[in-house]
């Protein structure tokens, strides 16, 4: 009996018990849908973080660097009391930190033991293969816009905005005039919050919905037009006075108002959505680097100010080192670590993250696999019932020359068809659910002015893999019933009612 005949026979048998086959397939559909949905969620996170966010930062030529914190430096004795702190590298004559194994097998450096200050930046810039070093510094502040006060995070940005991690392209505006200017560049999403909201007039009861009011994706010109409304807008940054007024004095006499002007709006797609902060901690509001350093000192907490006073400097929070070619990455990475700073190899981190996501994916797949396991029991049950009902038929087939292999093949084919149909429908169902979930989430994301994110992502290999897995599980579930069918005694079977 050839494969086509076996399939035809299996299909005929399933059609004999339509309701039972439908219910069994439903079990597989539920299993596959939950499996694909859960794994596609993990794939979505992975896709957003690794493939979109990191891809935008050119991980093969970018090295994030961090220095020791003020508290660590004070502990090491680099507080000015030590007469001869180690020149350049590690403090108190300590050797360069040795790498150790991380939780996912990657190499993790010991904590940095040196401040990331202008001197360290200058040393890195001199290293062969380094294109530029972009220090990172930020601060929190209260600002007043449109008469409202709110707390925001500012980041320092270079005059050359393209040096921002992931690049920075102006949608409109000129950018900073100098490194200490009281100027602000905002990203497109933040810019929307600077525009005073227009109160919507609710439609009259019973009137048809306004088709124009429906949300649509704005064109480049419309985006630019909206961004231009923000240009030149004044943003008041509040700081405490050096000499606060006497108790009882009016509060406005105890703080200063520093007026900043918006000079540019960055394109939204350059900001790579909410995941970028996981890697680079970049916010949505930028001031020139020099200004950021100044307000970092002014708005820092009192302990940080004290530490900086003892050490003479507070250093930078971090820096991004850009090398000329990927071949330069390793030597620069090693050189930075030898300085007592901590360089992060993003390629290494990427590999660790991939391992991490693989574990997450496997865990979610295992969890969802339980429902597929239940479906497999359903398939097994269906086939065993089918054998009981078709015992006589099996006996007839054996009596007229059907061999055990053919009998088994028919049952395996039935199970395979149940798995295939369940897999295809389940995969389609998962795609539909994911699409709805993505659309719903992005509806709210878009209304908040952020970048579109695919929370659920189904690559072709997940879809096809889920179908193959469903077929595989179904075939496995058919092993015992098929074996039992092949073992049917034809004489007893022919007497069976």
């Amino acid at each position: 009996m050839n494969f086509a005949d076996i399939c035809q026979m299996a299909l005929r048998n399933l059609q004999q018990a339509k309701l039972r086959a439908t219910l069994t397939i439903t079990g597989v559909v539920v299993g596959v849908t939950s499996l694909v949905c859960m794994v596609s969620f993990a794939f979505g996170l992975q896709e957003n973080l690794l493939n979109k966010t990191l891809a935008g930062f050119d991980i093969f030529t970018t090295i994030p660097v961090s220095g020791a914190s003020l508290s660590m430096l004070l502990e090491f004795g680099q507080n000015g009391e030590n007469p001869e702190p180690a020149e350049g590298a590690t403090p108190a004559g300590a050797a360069a930190p040795e790498p150790r194994r991380g939780p996912f097998g990657g190499m993790v450096r010991a904590k940095p033991r040196r401040m990331l200050d202008d001197k360290a930046i200058a040393e890195i810039e001199k290293m062969p293969g380094v294109l530029y070093v972009q220090p990172r510094i930020g601060f929190e502040a209260f600002i007043q816009v449109n008469g409202h006060t709110r707390q925001v995070n500012f980041s320092g940005a270079p005059l050359e905005l393209s040096r921002l991690p992931g690049g920075g392209t102006l949608l409109t505006g000129t950018g900073f005039s100098n490194d200490f200017a009281r100027e602000i560049v905002v990203n497109e999403g933040t810019a929307k919050t600077f525009i005073a909201p227009v109160r919507k007039v609710p439609p009259a009861p019973g009137s048809p919905p306004d088709p124009v009011a429906r949300k649509k994706v704005p064109t480049e010109a419309e985006r630019k037009q909206a961004a231009e409304q923000v240009l030149g807008k004044e943003v008041v940054l509040l700081t405490l006075r050096e000499q606060p007024g006497a108790p009882g004095e009016a509060p406005e006499n105890r703080y200063e108002k520093n007026v900043f002007k918006v000079v540019g709006v960055l394109k939204a797609e350059e900001t790579h959505g909410p995941f970028e902060q996981l890697v680079f901690g970049r916010g949505g509001m930028f001031v020139p680097q020099g200004t950021a350093r100044l307000y970092h000192k002014i708005n820092g907490d009192s302990l940080s100010k004290l530490g900086a006073t003892i050490l003479g400097d507070s250093g930078y929070q971090g820096a991004i080192v850009r090398v000329k070619t990927p071949a330069d990455t390793q030597s620069v990475y090693d050189g930075i670590n030898k300085m007592g700073l901590q360089a992060i190899s993003l390629t290494q981190q990427l590999s660790q993250m991939k391992t991490f996501f693989m574990i997450i994916n496997s865990s979610l797949a295992l969890l969802a696999g339980i429902s597929l396991f239940v479906a497999a029991i359903g398939i097994s049950n269906t086939l065993i019932m089918s054998i009981t009902e078709r015992t006589r038929e099996i006996g007839i087939m054996k009596a007229i020359g059907g061999d055990n292999r053919t009998i088994m093949s028919i049952f395996f084919c039935e199970a395979g068809l149940l798995g295939l149909l369940g897999g295809v429908i389940g995969g389609g169902g998962a795609w539909l659910l994911d699409t709805i979930a993505n659309a719903t989430v992005n509806h709210y994301i878009a209304s908040a002015g952020a970048v579109r994110v695919e929370f659920f992502f189904i690559p072709w290999y997940l879809w096809s893999g889920a179908i193959l897995f469903a077929v595989g599980v179904s075939l496995l579930a058919a092993a015992y019933p098929a074996y039992r069918a092949a073992r049917v005694d034809p004489i007893k079977a022919l007497r069976h009612d």
């Binding site: 007229i400 020359g401 059907g402």
Partner: protein
């Protein structure tokens, strides 16, 4: 050389309460082209003997041979091939698959032999026509009379052109007219060179068509004529 032979064959069914002997040292030889009737009352062991000839069961002791090849040496696959190619079986209760048409029932045996779909449809129709059912090929068993169902069963048994036809009480569920028709078909097949082994408890009817009769009683051959 006999086409089928049984040599000192015993068959004991092992039941929960004890052993039940069905055949007790049966020796029998059936020559090529013969029409042999095996007669006996219920429980005499005639169906057991037919099942052993048909390769559906194994003897407890003794040997069943087809053209001097002993069947007990066959594995499951070889036995299935034997049932498929060498013999055809006709049963008292027809044993047709109720969800298949007459043509599909006949085609199934051809499908097991690996014949392509179009060819087996043609052959199934020709076989059904040869037993007078050309107009009933698409009918399911429930839509056919007992005699017609038995003729479908005979057509199916002939599907792969076997040398031997084993018929287990093929007329048991038929009236005398239909029974005669079925036996007439078997007789025609004998004339075409087939060997026929007929199980029956109706001595008179069997003796009209068979070349010789073998009577079984309590699992033993008591009379051969």
């Amino acid at each position: 050389m006999p086409i089928l032979s049984a040599s000192h064959v015993t068959k004991v069914y092992r039941m929960g309460a004890g052993d039940v002997p069905a055949l007790a040292g049966v020796s029998l030889a059936i020559e090529r082209g013969e029409f042999v009737a095996i007669l006996g009352t219920s429980g005499s062991g005639k169906s057991t003997l037919l099942n052993l000839f048909g390769g559906l069961d194994h003897p407890t002791s003794g040997e069943i041979a087809f053209e001097s090849t002993v069947l007990s040496g066959f594995n499951a696959k070889a036995m299935a091939q034997y049932r498929l190619k060498k013999i055809g079986m006709v049963f008292q209760s027809f044993n047709l698959i109720s969800t298949m048409s007459a043509e599909q029932n006949v085609s199934l045996a051809l499908a097991f032999a690996g014949m392509p779909a179009a060819a087996r449809r043609e052959r199934a129709k020709a076989l059904l026509a040869s037993v007078g059912l050309a107009a009933r090929v698409d009918h399911r068993p429930a839509e056919l009379s007992g005699g017609e169902q038995q003729r479908v069963s005979i057509a199916r048994a002939l599907a792969n052109d076997p040398q031997v036809l084993l018929a287990d009480e093929p007329t048991g569920n038929l009236d005398s007219v239909r029974a005669s028709e079925v036996l007439q078909i078997l007789k025609q097949l004998q004339s075409q060179g087939k060997t026929i082994v007929l199980i029956s408890h109706d001595h008179e009817l069997a003796s009209r068509f068979a070349d010789r009769s073998v009577r079984l009683k309590d699992g033993k051959v008591v009379e051969a004529a």
